[in-house]
Amino acid sequence: MEYWILFGTFVFLLLIGTPIAFCLGVSSFATIAYLGLPPVVVFQRLNSGVSIFALMAIPFFIFAGNLMVRGDIARRLVALAGAAVGHFRGGLGQVNILASVLFGGISGSAAADASAIGGLMVPQMKERGYDADYAVNITVVSSIIALMLPPSHNLIIYSIAGGGRISIADLFTAGIIPGLVLALSLMVAAWLVARKRGYPLEPFPGMRAVGTLLLSATPGLVLVAIIFGGVRSGVFTASESSCIAVVYAMFAIFFLYRTMDFEQFRLAVSDAVRTTAMVLMVIGCAAAFGWLLAFLRIPTQLVEFMRDLSDSPIVILLLINVLLLILGSFMDMSPLIVITTPIFLPVAMEFNVDPVQFGIILVLNLGIGLCTPPVGTVLFVGCAVGKMPVWDVVRTIWPFYIAGIFTLMLVTYIPALSLWLPSLFH
């Protein structure tokens, strides 16, 4: 009965449009009241769930991203990418993907990537004769790259959900190759679709123009170097690096570019607060929900169930992936990481999957879920910036889904893709 109350209340509230944070919180509240336990636990979990030092990276990275968009750093990165790959088939589509690679090296948020790069690229692409659905498709799916390349606060959430004992530095390093493989797969998909639809080529502007744009984008690129270099050289820890990203973005915007006034800064701050509160409230309520899952022994039962289902790691990993893709198409990423890590990580480890590799699988899988209906934050952002109805976008997005799932399968079944790079640092 308690299962029905927990999941029933959750699904009911979800369907009537209650914010997801409160779907999680209220269904936990109802279940614990039904069990006759003191409901105070729900609110203790909510409070503890957001009182974690490592979570601080989320407001910081979101804040830094907002500063970069408002302070013109993001646009310069797009311009650089445009000059570098615009002359390939489906050129601006490739630019869009490369811009995500660059932006992804600074931001850990797919939604920020989709709004920052989509807002700049989609209008440009439409203007030069690309179909709007193609522009939005690429914007949406390529923003998953931001989740894979360091920094990625979702990998930090995963490390915490996994008991805080999985090295964040290892996870960050492990995401690089899979992120680049994803970029490559998407570039191939973009090229194939562009060829079929006969999109135009951009002329190569010459090394000189690329050089000028490189210079103009340098402070943005330096940010990438500072974050990665600072963590690797021991100046600051991974969670502190997000704060340094904010400090540096402020420095670049106020002293190098001088592109921001106080009003813009105020807007960047309040937007960061809004987005952070939205995301972290879900995480806090998911902590209460997750506590109940553990208390009701659901993870243990699921582990036993899956263990009975098959002995083959290949089948088990496939099952986990399918389950995650289904869950991911209904729910947002961070609560799912918090909820599913304690359930699936022990199963995966039972089959000798390294926790670092599993983190990359999880984030890539749930990242794909961000781009799928019915609930897909990134998909919605993409549709909004492209001014396109969701259905029109989804109808033609499948080549990019295929590229994403293809990468997911590679990452799942080739451990070295994730584990080789971090092993060099040990």
Binding site: T18, P19, S115
Partner: protein
């Protein structure tokens, strides 16, 4: 209510900037002064609680929470209004829980202290309680507006960073 929301957002924003300053100070202290400030971590975590709970409450008013409202499109307006009302009532109950149980938690931890800061452990729950108060107020406002036939902010609307408010 609009003033209250603006104050809550302003406080949250100041919190975010302060938090940036504190952690930057922590890095500077350890790396340059070779004397790590030990209070920065605890204080920053406390501040984070404030802007999450205040920000989440304002989100109820402005409608920037993540939600799933695809199903609602299939329903007639009258049913939709009833369901929205149910949803708001449920959030009021949760906000009330944040207040009531937040106070209970604060009482239970009143005599404990936060390591390296020295404040009472109860301070960790103040944000939860204040967030709960705002959550109840803003949800009641939604209920009142709907009853009066006025519009309320819709959840699930995608909000863009460069969209001015």
């Amino acid at each position: 209510m609009a003033v209250l929301a603006r104050i809550a957002l302003a406080l949250s924003g100041i919190g975010l900037v302060l938090m940036t300053a504190f952690i930057a100070w922590q890095v500077f202290g350890r790396f340059v002064l070779n004397d790590t400030p030990t209070w920065t971590e605890s204080v920053s975590v406390l501040i984070m609680g404030w802007f999450i709970f205040l920000g989440a409450a304002v989100g109820i008013r402005e409608g920037y929470h993540l939600s799933f409202d695809v199903f609602l499109y299939l329903l007639p307006d009258r049913v939709k209004r009833v369901l929205h009302t149910v949803s708001d009532i449920v959030v009021v109950a949760f906000g009330a829980g944040m207040i009531g149980y937040g106070i209970q938690l604060a009482e239970a931890t009143w005599s404990t202290t936060i390591p390296n800061v020295g404040w009472s452990g109860a301070t960790a729950f103040l944000a939860l309680i204040c967030g709960g108060v705002l959550l109840v107020l803003f949800s009641l406002e939604r209920l009142a507006r709907r009853a009066a036939g006025l519009v309320t902010a819709r959840f699930g609307e995608v909000e863009l960073p460069d969209e001015d408010r």
